[in-house]
């Protein structure tokens, strides 16, 4: 049963938190809300859950208008970034609590709790209190409680944000599997583009109270509809620069130009915006259409396996620096001009108003 937001908006005081939004979320697939803190992800979830009432518009679930129906009547589960467990109950009792509220028979409660504990690797810990668990185990306990009942809508609001890096990696692998055979709508909010990509499913890029784009995750990442959507879905940030189209030629600054792809060539001459993700700007030529570009190196970051160079294209005009991300370790001296290579075949072209031009 799908969840439908039909023209849903939310105003608080004189301020608009969510602009009119239409969104259809299907069961059986991860629905990801991707955006920075304050973009409106949590508000959207509260509107979906019935914790907040929309100022305008309707919320439909499985073809039924549920606008205004309180959360208690909606069969919703929610997991927050700050995990919440009952401190005086064992892990078993914590997980069992929603089933006890629903007056499920004892034998079935036991079977369900054990199955969930097995999936979330909590079996050896069932007798412990939450205070005797690590942060990751506490969050798994909170997650098990949210998943043990057959909720028709499961909302996960940055559930991994407070966990150690490695634990996050592990749970991210496990999560989609937990929902594989369940008929519920799953919504997952995150601030991290890579997390959205690895979880797969569908992604909505959210920016300043608006859904910028919604579609299959890989599609939204590779074919952003707007510059805003591309910016929300890039980490490190996508590099952008104003360019001029002149016949078949694209010019970036005074010294860099290349031949535009045919669909771009067909456009009227003039000003456009070019965007390219950092891993397509490298220290050695890479890809099918490398174009050299010089930059003043501001910072270099060498991790164990790659080199990240922050650089400025021209004079310091207040524009955000560009970032290049290359395989291997290349020490580039700071404060000097370095030659970098853009694989322009991977570049994105935008109208001055931000709409992407298919190339």
């Amino acid at each position: 049963m799908p969840l439908d937001l039909k023209g849903v908006s939310k105003q608080v005081g004189g301020e608009t938190h969510i602009y009119p939004t239409d969104l259809t979320l299907e069961p059986g697939v991860f629905n990801i809300l991707l955006g920075t803190t304050g973009a409106g992800k949590t508000t959207l979830m509260q509107l979906m859950a019935g914790l907040e009432r929309p100022t305008a518009g309707e919320v439909w679930f499985g073809g039924v208008n549920v606008t205004g129906m309180p959360v208690q009547k909606r069969n919703v589960s929610m997991v927050h970034q700050q995990f919440i467990n009952y401190p005086n109950m064992s892990v078993f009792e914590n997980i069992a609590s929603p089933l006890r509220v629903a007056r499920m028979p004892k034998a079935e409660i036991k079977a369900r709790v054990e199955r969930m504990a097995d999936l979330l690797k909590l079996t050896p810990l069932l007798g412990r209190r939450p205070s005797e668990l690590s942060g990751g185990q506490q969050q798994r306990c909170a997650m098990a409680r949210a998943l043990v009942k057959d909720a028709s809508l499961v909302l996960l609001d940055e559930p991994l944000a407070n966990l150690d890096f490695k634990l996050r990696e592990e749970l991210r692998d496990e999560l989609p599997r937990l929902f594989a055979d369940r008929d519920c709508v799953v919504v997952y909010a995150t601030t991290e583009p890579v997390e959205a990509l690895l979880l797969g499913g569908n992604t909505a890029t959210v920016f300043q109270g608006r859904v910028a784009q919604f579609g299959p995750t890989g599609e939204v990442y590779r074919r952003p509809g707007t510059l805003t959507s591309a910016q929300v879905f890039s980490e490190p940030p996508i590099n952008t620069a104003p360019v001029t189209k002149d016949g078949a030629t694209i010019r970036l600054g005074e010294h860099t130009d290349w031949t535009a792809p045919p669909p771009i060539q067909a456009l009227p001459d003039g000003a456009y915006v070019f965007g390219i993700r950092p891993h397509h700007v490298t220290l050695a030529p890479d890809g099918t259409h490398p174009v050299a570009i010089d930059g003043m190196v501001l910072v270099t970051e060498l991790s164990g396996s790659e080199s990240v160079v922050h650089f400025r294209l021209g004079a310091d005009d207040g524009a955000a620096p560009w970032v290049s991300q290359s395989h291997g370790i290349h020490a580039v001296p700071v404060g000097q001009v370095a030659r970098l290579h853009m694989d322009v075949a991977q570049g994105l072209y935008f109208e001055p108003d931000g709409a992407r031009i298919a190339a």
Binding site: D164, F165, L167, Y221, P237, R277, V299, E301, L302, S303
Partner: protein, 362 residues
């Protein structure tokens, strides 16, 4: 600024000290050079905060000495150690202006007001806070506040060391990029000894010249980011650094080759014999995928492919053991089965978790 020496430092919080597990910090002999950039990297509970508190003087180690240059400071209280600390959550005064927040640590020490002004200006400049100096801190965003915290940590010139305890954990990813590179730039400019504590490998590897990887109260490996990536001394380091971490598979040793589930696999460390629980370790970056018809390589099933944008993580399975391989954007992945080629110069033998030294163990 100072060189920091930890000599035979151990710490236990409890009264019983019979067991390994009673020691939050097992044993540490380490020197941080003057002006260096170091990271302490490990999971929650690995002992990194204990170590930080020992250096700052909040904890007195159960055993061992702490030296700043050649001065023994083991019994010195924190306020006499001249240390600056930046924490996970911004520590600032909401009612003060940005300028007064930055000036606070200097005024507190009775620094001359003309010097205060000059130094605040300099730090504000580096952190791009100059435009905000007159504003109250209250109205600033989370990252703006954390920038001020960083500035307060860096404003004093007479500190022995600046310690950062998970300073970017609460910051959004796209701002993390900016602040991280800012911090790196600042280290390059101010030349203070800096120690950065984190569980996030990316932050540790990009910030530090030397990374100390800790687990269960001990330092497992100290090295440059490249050392840690290319040649993990312990399977824990291989797992903890890299995303996804190193593949670790049980094996036996026959004729200088590792044998995994009946497949002979060449290894980089020349080893004739090894004792203990044997495993090979190879990073997903160093595995190539060929289709199942290839003549060589380890035959595997493909379980799942995760798209990470610039690469894909291919989860494969060999008789129940999961092996992950990274494949670049745009490279084709065989649909059903595949054969894996493990780069011999990057595949190593480990015994009881530790890298087997050349020649092997008796």
């Amino acid at each position: 600024m100072a060189k920091i020496t930890l000599a035979g430092v151990r710490h236990s919080y409890g009264s019983t000290r019979d067991d390994r597990a009673d020691w939050a910090l097992q044993h540490l002999d380490e020197t941080w050079e003057d002006g260096g950039a170091y990271a302490l990297l490990g999971p929650s509970g690995c002992g990194k905060t204990t170590l930080l508190n020992i250096v700052s003087g909040l904890l007195r180690p159960t055993e061992g000495r702490v030296l700043f240059d050649d001065r023994d400071v083991t019994d010195q209280p924190p306020d006499q150690r001249h240390i600056a600390q930046v924490f996970q959550f911004p520590v600032i005064y909401d009612t003060m202006t940005v300028h007064d927040n930055l000036a606070f640590p200097l005024r507190n020490r009775g620094v001359d007001e003309t010097r205060v002004k000059a130094r605040v200006r300099e730090i504000a400049d580096m952190l791009e806070l100059t435009d905000m100096l007159g504003r109250r801190a209250r109205g600033l965003t989370a990252d703006g506040k954390q920038k001020i915290s960083l500035g307060r940590g860096l404003v004093r010139e007479d500190v022995n060391i600046v310690m950062f305890d998970e300073p970017l954990t609460v910051i959004d990813p796209h701002l993390k990029w900016q602040l991280r590179s800012k911090l790196k730039e600042l280290h390059q400019r101010v030349g203070l000894t800096m120690v950065y504590v984190t569980h996030d490998q990316t932050e540790a590897l990009t910030f530090a010249e030397q990374v100390m990887v800790m687990n269960e109260g001990q330092v497992v490996q100290i090295g440059t980011p490249v050392d840690l990536f290319e040649c993990p001394q312990h399977t824990f380091v291989g797992h903890f650094i890299g995303s996804p971490g190193m593949n670790v598979l049980p094996c036996t040793l026959e004729g200088g080759k590792a044998v995994v589930e009946g497949h002979a696999i060449p290894i980089a460390n020349p080893v004739t014999s090894a004792a203990g629980r044997l495993e090979i370790g190879v990073r997903p970056e160093f595995i190539d995928l060929a289709d199942r018809g290839a003549e060589t390589g380890v035959p595997v099933e493909i379980l799942k492919v995760s798209d990470a944008g610039r690469y894909r993580v291919v989860h494969t399975c060999l008789n129940g053991f999961v092996i992950k391989a990274l494949v670049s954007e745009g490279v084709e992945i065989p649909a059903d089965g595949a054969r894996l080629a493990l780069a011999p110069e990057k595949t190593r033998l480990y015994a009881d978790g530790w890298l087997v030294p050349d020649g092997g163990t008796p």
